[in-house]
Symmetry: C2
Subunit: 426 residues, 2 copies
Amino acid sequence: MSGYVRALAGQARAAALVLAGTDAATRRRLIEGMAARLEHDRDAILAANAEDIARGRGAGLGSALLDRLMLDAARLKGIADALRDVAAQPDPLGQVTRREVRPNGVVVERQRVPLGLIAMIYEARPNVTADAAALCLKAGNAVLLRGGSEARASNAAIAASLHAALRAEGLPEAAVSLVADPAREHVLELLQLTDLVDLAIPRGGESLIRFVAEHARVPVIKHYKGVCHLYVDRAADMDKALGLLLDGKVSRPGVCNALETLLVHRDIAQAFLPSALAALKARGVEVRGCERTQALGPGVLPAADADYAAEFLDLVIAVRVVDRLEDALAHIACYGSDHTEVIVTDDPHAAEAFVRGTRSSAVMVNASSRFNDGGQLGLGAEIGISTTRLHAYGPMGAESLTIERFVVRGEGQVRHPESSLPPAGG
Amino acid sequence: MSGYVRALAGQARAAALVLAGTDAATRRRLIEGMAARLEHDRDAILAANAEDIARGRGAGLGSALLDRLMLDAARLKGIADALRDVAAQPDPLGQVTRREVRPNGVVVERQRVPLGLIAMIYEARPNVTADAAALCLKAGNAVLLRGGSEARASNAAIAASLHAALRAEGLPEAAVSLVADPAREHVLELLQLTDLVDLAIPRGGESLIRFVAEHARVPVIKHYKGVCHLYVDRAADMDKALGLLLDGKVSRPGVCNALETLLVHRDIAQAFLPSALAALKARGVEVRGCERTQALGPGVLPAADADYAAEFLDLVIAVRVVDRLEDALAHIACYGSDHTEVIVTDDPHAAEAFVRGTRSSAVMVNASSRFNDGGQLGLGAEIGISTTRLHAYGPMGAESLTIERFVVRGEGQVRHPESSLPPAGG
């Protein structure tokens, strides 16, 4: 342990106390100032990004990764606009969420306070540097950012703009602290700092998330893969089912709320699957199905067990015909990832059985899996979608970066008044 | 890894799905049935407890530990009554906590659901076996209980009663699963089961909690020590201050919400401390103080740095005179344990500065630290007091054993309607 990260986290933790004391107007102005500063510093940020891109090309990064890494004026404006959206969100802090007067007269309030210091560990996209910082600051937290080394110049340039905005408000720069040295040992050190880091959020590929989850002593909220299911019930409206299938699988196959598996009730399989499989095929989707599925469409490949557990993130889908709704639930319990499940049905009993029988972060009844997203569900920007069944489950907005604590106000009430009596013999 | 604990957890996880599907009336009846069954099985439970006590005596357990281990008819009735209180609490599940209709017409609901499978790892007190099971079941969870080996006969007898109550409701016994084999390797194995265990709650001494926190891959909510502070502001009412000091330090020194450190503003030190120190001394409290404290009371021992970090759990208190409220806050930030802090003041500005400047789970203004307790704060029974700043902070009742997820209801809405259009050339 070098102590480098501990020193950084210590400063960030001290800054968190300052942030926690700010009011809503200050935090709003701060984040608007960050957006303006990013636009003001555009040339410097794009130059730094060009440096990352050139180094990435030299290192042989693939085109998908280079595209995620790349910034241009339009993308930078998108980042600034996203920050303005965060600034405009309702303030998540300070509200008294509950209030009760106890029989002894003390007033018990629950109050939202910041988590403290949040560590974000993420990969290529430099926009996360700005997004995550804005959401953490909106909720009065400090943030320790450890981005991928491939984006280090971009991240440093973005952080410099954010620091300028912090300075303009008289707030400590350390509220947004960047782990500039990309050595992996620093991530390891960071994940051990239980006295300084209140929460670590890994965001990126499955291997990054597993690395963080395996090595962390600090609390972690994970955003694992989405193996999302669409179940077409016997009582489904087939037009809706087809629309939801195509939206879920085709509209953006590389995201975590895209569909990976289609489950079809046997009573509707013959009516639904032939046209559904043809529609998938026409859009270039490779289908891997059970034997009953294979019998209903040409060109369906046999599905292996691993296909039902896979997050393809591509134009591939696994399909299985099930005998009963309960079998669909059992399949999801076995292969699912607690992310998003959809039922298509006009039978309210089937809908309720499905909602009750799944434990995922979002259950959709006749609505697309693609709605599992902070913006779509009305939370504003999100810092990720939690599949950890603790603290937050599903999309996490600024409110998820707070915690309720107790504030008790009295007039000297004690629990055992006899403690104040003179002692025996006194 | 023996696989013994994995098999046990797998059964408990399956039972959790059954529990999640029960209604409020069933869970209430179940917990009332558990209370009745414990009383019905009294002789068997007390006989098992006598066995533990005899074995503990033979092994040389101290009298405090033996007292915590010991059950008699009155204590067993207390356990049953506590279960009836849990049964009577409002049901924490199924409510729709928020509901919003989005512009596209989909209805977004937030719904409280159980966490799933909770592992309790605890020490001597056999009442935890019943309490923890009841709270977990109230919130629709299954529980995996690993008590201390010194209480193994008592825990097994209590679990047998709980199983009888589960059977009477047609529910799986595995909803309350006991790790009967006391080998520590089973705890280690349990703490790695990220695919089965949703939350681990250690309850007991600091070394147990550290062991769990260090080895867990599953999420943990810790209930560490309470180094609770009383700050007597310059604007304090001295009678209230003395009452709060004695209630906090003397009424039950062995609990986590007892006071360990007294901080006194220098402007009131000369007026307050001599009588306060005398009152403490008269009740047998050993005082370890700073130089200014030593000058104000006879027999004050010098306080070492370690005394300010100590959870004495005994009739010992550390005292320091501070120059300003900010110094009290800095002291608490340095030595505190995020548990409970108290300010005594008639100055509302000082009170708010103190509330804002501390990050502990409970902040008391002119009220005793001893109120940081689920029953006192209106939550009913508690499974512990969280000092983890995530998910729950402060006393945890049944509601803290649930999580909100998203249920979205639509009529076929999709995010990208163009996905359904015939493909180009189709």
